[in-house]
Symmetry: C2
């Protein structure tokens, strides 16, 4: 079976490498040999093993009926969307690692794949190498899914882990992470929670069977987190993690990416460094956790190739991965419930105790502050009450 | 689609409950309604919701052509093997939670299922509710699997967690666990590692594609673990866990269930109480971890029902889960490499330092003992050297 790789960057060259190095096991598991007939990239790669199959024009890929599987690893929606759409229209399977593409055009491309009896797969778009899309569709099927909460962005988890270990501020760690290539020059997509938000939109679309738009996911970034916040987290035996979370209650659901205080004992507490993890809570199953090195060239490529194998196994049928184009809008998070950690000025102590009866004081040895943990209440309730306090230094949702 | 449940014990009644309570999502995901036409059990269950469909004779189940899916939750091989074989021969799909059955007759039943173009599924036989069988077969397919290590037995993990938290000896905790129903009256299958060994044999069979016999898995139990061992584990910032591990090196592999010292930072270190976890290491992927509440009525039932849904989706085809009947025997663990933790008499210090140059002394405040961690060496080498020391109080493999 002939395949083509679109984009010979980190993931694309990783896919090429996995297909070469593990050719024997891949052939055994696919039932046939997977040959890369083309690698499409605008650049030249003299001396590279893929140089022989390198092409610069998509037309020769999309118009070659021998190519049954198109592997899209370019990233971004332009021209990836156009290329993927045309491949599906020609009856080719598409496997992609491109979360922007899936978050934005997933429902359209899934429908097209279904109509043409081919598959549009994107295991690598969420959690890199960790299997989560297929387990959600084929394993966790007996349950009503109540919650998916995950650490879906390795860069921010790396930054937060270093902040925690070193008691350091966000900006210093970000600069160092940029210096050694762990964070991008323009880090907004990671640190503002957009990347995690796109991945959450994909997972929520799978669970609800309808289109969850990234723009409807509330995102809060990690840029404001300070060394003092970390000090409190330590005092609480908690860590601050950027959690992407979708919670279902009956027909409605919430979708939020935000930094949270996560207590020791919570399944995501121990997920450090560049590790990603997805926790799924079902009404029968309880919690299951999938974790591993999310990003990275070869883990991501491994997930893409697992999709290629799946496509080869189901070369003549659509396997049913699908959500409809009908948009479903998450509830306003104002009615979402949580506990909250708040740092305020020491002079607010009495007022805080009136506003939040039963609060639990947190002592991290900073005398000029009064910090506390509230009971469970809605975001709306919390916002109203906390507004009464002046000089709020920080606030985080708390998960135990 | 009509199904029959064989055995109305904990898991069987859980399956019935999941099928009733989540009927709507199950129908949506299966593409059709799953009706339980029969529940087979020798006992009566007056007033139970399943009483209406209760039968006592397997003949009426196996001879009813309307029954397309047989759900076997009796446990044990007699009469489960006979019942399952006959169901497959009649062209019925079988979903089971029965690890003894799969470990002993898996290859024969898989072949039969393949010949009859039906499916023999057993997701619940390993890790209870945690998806691991299907992810291994359908997600982690691009990788050469190098290792599977897991905490596959909830009872022993519960006992070891309590021993760790309370600094208590094995026997006391076992008695209490038996008192509250966490451990069975005859606990040998759990505490001697046989249960975990059967599950490991199943996972190893899937990975190698050949029959790995339970009898060829080396098993060491947890009965000898003392409060002093725990004290040393704490001093090393480690925990003692019963680890089931298969390690592949080229064409050969090792299979061992044994208690190990697991250092903080190891993916299995944080897996406590009745939680199960399976770590899979691939040559491209690195480590991925699947964890969750393994056992328990509803989590296990959820995994069984996910198999039922898969069978309904693939009612007319075998989906390829298979290993051949050719037996593959693991290598002798004598050539397996590890580090070792040893407790010996204080008077052996000098000799130990000669036998294990570069050893790392471990101090847990017990002056009459000399305890140390060795470098990496084979089991054979270790056994030869350690034999030179008299009065060995304990020895564990060490994982970091």
């Amino acid at each position: 079976m002939k395949a083509a790789i679109l984009g010979y960057g980190t993931v694309g060259s990783g896919v090429y490498e996995v297909l070469q190095k593990n050719a024997d096991v891949i052939e055994a598991r696919s039932g046939e040999r997977i040959d890369v007939k083309y690698v499409l990239d605008l650049r030249e790669f003299p001396g590279d093993p893929a140089a022989d199959v390198l092409v610069h024009d998509y037309e020769c890929v999309v118009n070659d009926p021998e190519v049954r599987i198109v592997i899209e690893t370019m990233g971004g929606v332009k021209p990836a969307y156009e290329f993927v759409r045309r491949a599906l229209e020609k009856g080719k399977h598409v496997c992609t690692s491109n979360k922007e593409l899936v978050a934005e055009y997933g429902s359209e491309l899934l429908l097209l794949a279904k109509e043409r009896k081919v598959n549009f797969y994107f295991e690598a778009s969420v959690g890199g190498g960790i299997p989560i899309i297929r387990p959600l569709c084929e394993c966790l099927t007996a349950d009503r899914i109540l919650e998916i909460s995950g650490i879906l962005n390795g860069t921010t988890n790396y930054i937060l882990t270093r902040m925690y270990n070193e008691g350091a501020d966000f900006n210093r760690v970000l600069k160092e992470a940029q210096g050694c290539g762990y964070a991008e020059r323009n880090p907004a997509a990671d640190i503002e929670g957009f990347d995690a938000g796109r991945k959450l939109a994909i997972l929520a679309s799978i669970v609800t069977g309808r289109r969850v738009e990234f723009g409807d996911v509330v995102t809060e970034g990690i840029t404001g987190i300070t060394a003092e916040d970390i000090r409190y987290a330590r005092a609480m035996q908690a860590k601050i993690k950027l959690i992407a979370s979708a919670v279902w209650e009956g027909e409605s659901f919430y979708a939020l990416v935000a930094p949270r205080m996560v207590a020791a004992g919570h399944p995501l507490y121990a997920v450090d460094d560049v590790v990603n993890a997805v926790m799924v809570r079902g009404n029968m199953l309880g919690n299951v956790l999938f974790s591993g090195r999310g990003a990275g060239k070869l883990p991501t490529a491994s997930a893409v190739v697992s999709d290629v194998i799946q496509a080869a196994r189901h070369a003549d049928e659509n396997t049913g991965l699908y959500w409809s184009g009908t948009r479903i809008v998450p509830e306003s998070i104002r009615s979402m419930q949580s506990r909250y950690f708040v740092r305020t000025d020491a002079k607010n102590r009495q007022q805080a105790e009136l506003l939040f009866p039963g609060l639990e004081q947190i002592d991290a040895g900073m005398e000029e502050e009064f910090a506390f943990l509230t009971g469970r209440m809605t975001e709306g309730e919390f916002a109203e009450r906390v507004e009464e306090l002046d000089r709020i230094y920080a606030g985080f949702r708390f998960e135990s």
